[in-house]
Symmetry: none
Subunit: 219 residues, 4 copies
């Protein structure tokens, strides 16, 4: 065997193993996601996750140092997913109306496709034992989203489109809470999507729009 082919062989073996590693982790994470959402943190055992993923009990601990680490990974994955979708949508929005409606729609679509995931991710670490030294990470996603709305509001104030007697941080947080309604998912009977989203969008925009803005927020 030539030196090159030996290297190739090693590379190829390494690559295959890496793939297996990644695949196992993905399967575990997918199983964890399903079970954490269906049953909650405390009613999901590492064993259940492993079985659903189709791997042995011990394999779980090759990829997560413990159950909490697995849950953190799930939360982070879910948050990153939604975040990415929202960012993509916001990139193509020109007006505040589009932004509000866009965020609501993305959140709602995600919730429909992944029932409970957003709620679980939102609840985040609250479910775990209280010694969260690492809560910084999980909390930050809420903080982060609130902060984004705050920035949007600040820019709107500078453009004279949004009431300038608002404290952007506070109102940013308030807007975030309104948008969270769509992922609460307790009610499937809120009428159709269009109806639901239009209502919420109107409420937010009217709450924000400065008197002189006219329909500017949505134009």
């Amino acid at each position: 065997m030539s030196t090159q082919s030996k290297i190739d062989a090693i590379d190829s073996r390494g690559a295959r193993q890496d793939q297996r590693r990644t695949e196992s982790r993905q399967r575990l994470l997918a199983a964890a996601r399903q079970l954490f959402v269906e049953r909650g943190y405390h009613d999901t055992r590492p064993q259940d996750i492993s079985r659903l993923a189709g791997v042995g009990h011990g394999t779980f601990y090759l990829y997560f140092s413990d159950k909490q680490a697995c849950f953190r990974a799930f939360v982070e994955q879910a948050q990153a997913e939604v975040d990415s979708l929202i960012m993509k949508r916001l990139a193509v929005c020109r007006t505040h109306e589009e932004r509000v409606y866009g965020v609501l729609e993305v959140s709602m679509d995600f919730t429909k496709a992944n029932p409970g995931v957003l709620k679980a991710a939102w609840a985040g670490h609250q479910l775990m034992s209280s010694d969260d030294s690492g809560s910084a990470t999980s909390l930050s996603i809420v903080e982060q989203w609130a902060e984004r709305w705050a920035e949007v509001i600040t820019r709107g104030q500078k453009a004279g489109l949004i009431w300038d007697d608002y404290d952007p941080k506070i109102i940013g947080y308030a807007v975030l809470m309104v948008t969270s309604v769509v992922s609460t998912g307790t009610r499937e009977a809120w009428g159709d999507k269009e109806h639901f989203l239009t209502n919420l969008t109107r409420f937010v925009l009217r709450g924000l729009a400065a008197p002189g803005a006219g329909g500017a927020l949505s134009s």
Copy 2:
């Protein structure tokens, strides 16, 4: 001993026992409240509650059929407390502004006096095992509060004070979410109470007020 005095004696003993019964239950409930808030449902053991209450471990099961029953009792107590405070406050409000501001202030004061309690009660049964046959109870308080806002909105619409293109259920829920900001309690740094409450109140009112209403919502 006359028949009457025998009856009196029994009554008195019964009364004393009832009082003791009630007293032990109260002490257990108070301990449960403290621990459920401090540590959460899963990190609180019946044993801990009993010890903090100063009664024997077994006594716990004289007053609660199991741990879940105790938690339900805590949630109901906390919700009833806040509910009562809110109802009292609403009774003296004449305008929507007063109502919004009032609910926010009551919630905030309660949160300050009982840190974490409202959040825990809000989270409710989500923390418990997923077989929520009893979710009806706990869910209802959120549903109930949302429903109240919906009624307020409906009345406002009839009076021409609130946009009549709103679906009261949806906007009622949205208003509720905004008011829940005050009990999230993550940020102690939202400026002073006045500043904070004024901001939220303005946002809600401006979101609600029909164009022709002028300042009518607050007058």
Copy 3:
């Protein structure tokens, strides 16, 4: 029920419970002793100890914070037992010969009555994981015994009975090691007790006796 009889009742109940507590602990400790000696630390499970003691699995943890704590308790008990026997014997010894022979005999008798216990106690914490913060306790018994021999030697030197070119600490430790031969117990075929103990006693005494002492060590 009179106040006095009530107190009596409580006392009696408390006494009975205390007795039960003590009894359970004793039974667990006896079972632990048997199993730790028979199988060693790592092949003995808390479950085995509980079963042998005739109590439930969980009861074990009412009396010992964990497996290590149980083992420590066993070691300390065994050491204290031997120590007490040795001290009693030494109290009635007048000559060095009596002392050496006495310690050997006591150790040997104890080893015969409790095979393996002294060896296990001697080995002490070495069997447990290496993070012995509490090794002070267990080590000290060996240190303590060596120290006792050192004191005996020092006194003998002052009386001119023992070579004064000895470092008492070193020779004290050496004597201790010789006496430990009897508890090693690997050989049951060391001849009869008298033969065995006489041999060891002679060796130690001849090693200690100063040239001018004559038979003074034993007279």
Copy 4:
């Protein structure tokens, strides 16, 4: 390629492979030695040994049938090492004094150079599970060393240099225990080497020397 050179090539490859085989085994054994001494048998995993040796986890089982076999190999290696050193030293000793001092010095030097190894090897299989079918091997080294001292004593008795009322087996074991003091290693504060060894040597010699021997044991 000629037939001869082909054979050479094969030979050379075989030799290289043998060397590699041996090399991997040596590295594993060295790693095992370090870890067994540092952490003890039960806190050392085959995985740890492999990693420290710089080979894959599975490679361990190419060279040792299981963990116990590896431990046995370690013990035997360590014992053989010390044994060889002692034998070499004894070969140049002419008097009993030189022999006692020599064994002590060799043991001490080895202990200083390999802290803990002798103690671990001494403890031998006691750490492993109780089914010592192979205890013959490990026990024998202690038995062997005791037997050697017994032979020395027997010869001394025949030459009239050692008390003839001694049972050589018993006193041989006793001498061995004294020499084991140096490898206990608990005390680094036994004064300097010269002081320490001189003390122990004197004690042993005086314990052995027959009355008529004069200084013959050391001359």
